[in-house]
């Protein structure tokens, strides 16, 4: 083989790997979104005074923390390792950790991490939004009230341990709808401010 083709062959292999890695991220997420079971999870913004860092909302979940794990199952947790959270749904329709397992269970589960600091890592810690709509959504968050966790929640699809956020809801409304309504309001305010045409 001509030596000048060796870098080309090596690069082709590398390029395939470079494409496969992000493609596998898409495949796992799409599989969850299209075939996964839907769950609602209560959330609250982490820092009420600086909800939007850059382009995303930072979220804290309710029902998926260390204290939500049944006491007699907590001894199974090992720092710096993963576990499988078995899901339950409460009377109000929100998901929570019903129990945990160290082996892959038969029923719906979410793969989670118990880190070296003894904290259950939040699997849904951010929701991306465009920079220009972020202030409008932040205003909606403020009006919803920080302590009313029922007012804000996310819908997720979970399949084979992988969970993907579908939508963020504020006061029961999807954030896309809020953005649209706020944009329409802004447009009509602009129209009112325009001088009448002669």
């Amino acid at each position: 083989m001509n030596k000048q083709y060796i870098p080309l062959i090596a690069f082709t292999i590398l390029a395939i790997i470079q494409l496969v890695i992000p493609a596998s991220m898409i495949f796992r997420s799409e599989k969850a979104l299209t075939t996964g079971q839907s769950y609602l999870i209560r959330v609250r913004p982490v820092d009420p005074y600086d909800v939007f860092r850059g382009r995303y909302v930072t979220l804290a979940n309710e029902g998926f923390n260390y204290r939500d794990i049944p006491e007699d199952s907590r001894s199974l947790l090992k720092e710096g390792s993963h576990f499988y959270a078995l899901l339950g749904v409460d009377e109000e329709g929100f998901a929570y950790i019903r129990d945990i397992s160290l082996d892959i269970p038969e029923e719906d589960y979410l793969k989670m991490e118990y880190n070296l600091d003894g904290v259950v890592v939040n699997p849904f810690d951010r929701f991306y939004l465009q920079q220009d709509v972020a202030p409008k959504v932040e205003k909606a968050f403020n009006e919803a009230g920080w302590n009313k966790t029922e007012a804000t929640y996310i819908s997720v699809r979970i399949k084979d341990g992988v969970g993907v956020i579908e939508e963020l809801f504020i006061l029961g409304m999807p954030v896309e709808e809020i953005i649209r309504e706020l944009s329409d309001e802004a447009k009509s305010d602009d129209e009112k401010l325009k001088p009448p045409s002669e």
């Binding site: 090596a10 390029a15 494409l19 991220m25 849904f124």
Partner: protein
Amino acid sequence: MSKKNILWLYGELPKLVSKGVITADVSNKIHDYYGKIEKKDFGNMLLMIFAIMGGVLIGLGIILLFAFNWNDLGRPLRTILSFLPLLISQGLVIFTLLKKRESPAWREGTATFLMLAIAAAIALIGQTYNIPGDLESFLLTWMLLSIPLVYICDVNIVSLLYLIGITCWAGYAQAEGRQAALFWPLLLLLFPRALLKFKENRYSNTSIYLGWTIVLCLTVATGITLEKVLPGLWMIVYSSFFALLYLAGSLWFREAPAIIQRPFHSTGTVGTIVMAYLLTYNWPWEEIGWYNIRYEDRFHHTAAYLDYGITLVLILLTVILLIYSVLKNKKINLFLGLFPALTIGGYLLISTFLDDNWEISGSEGPVLLTIHLVMNFYILAVGVISILWGVKTRKIALLNGGSLIIALLIALRFVFVESFFENLIVRGLIFILIGAGFLIANLIFSSILKKGESHE
């Protein structure tokens, strides 16, 4: 002789021949002896810089264009667009390898663009699917997907970005409570490339940038990757590390004319002296040694073996280079090269003093005083030797450096003192004695110089 000096000599030769100082034959022999010197091709460098900037800006520009109406696009379209920079940059690299392989500008520009496109693709997909933020695994994946480009495309910018990337990864990993020991095998992946560049020309711009980046990243990462189970081990690690840099720089990279062209030597020298100043104080020596080993959950005792391994390797390499310095008749290297021995001696002394109470009046008080005096006299000796060596070799930088070392020592001892030297009378007497010593030395040197001049 450095390239700059040889070029100057070549410039002088015609003048010397025309004035009859040397013959044309001698001039040719000088040319043959030093060989052909390739001048810097500034044209090519400009092309390369523009290519790299172009690649970076196009990559970032594409990302910003997407960001404009990103949310209005459906998920499938966003997914395809996330791959677009990656596919374009891969196509450009293939084109470069087929048609423009001889052009460093094309290789550097396209490889840098590709490296950024990899990060953009992973980040945009993470954003599309709201994948939880895990900067550590993002950085590691990005660096592992990029490092092969250094060898396949024979490029330098990617290697510099890689070094910075793995150092950042180590920092995040350790900050998240994980272990960053993987930094060392990741660094070794670049080792063949670095060795090749230093062997080709250790004073080229590429080697200098690579040298500085390696040295600075190692300075940061060495401390980050230490598990710190055994308190105070960092002193021995960093003393040996800086001594090793200094020795390597002195032995193999000494001929570069400017300090900026000697990353190993410069960092090693500054690092050793800064360490010496730090260790003249009490706080680094407090609660160190095996009787103060840390047992909290956040410290991983298995990972501590890495600390011991790093320490032993650094000490061993330093000893080897010290012996090599003596064999190569470069005994001047010993002054800074032997600093780790002082640190190890102090560490062993303090560690063996069993005392739960860290009052200076305790049994470790005399030991601390001894260490304090030894460190101060060491710094003073380094300063004086630098001045003397600067005079002997006619190097102003050494002379000034030595003066600065002594001046800083005087300032620190005058202003920032601890315990036993807080007594003004004690300090005053010490300053007077040392000052008298300098004046007496001045008188002795003056008479030696006068005798030397009268003999001439």
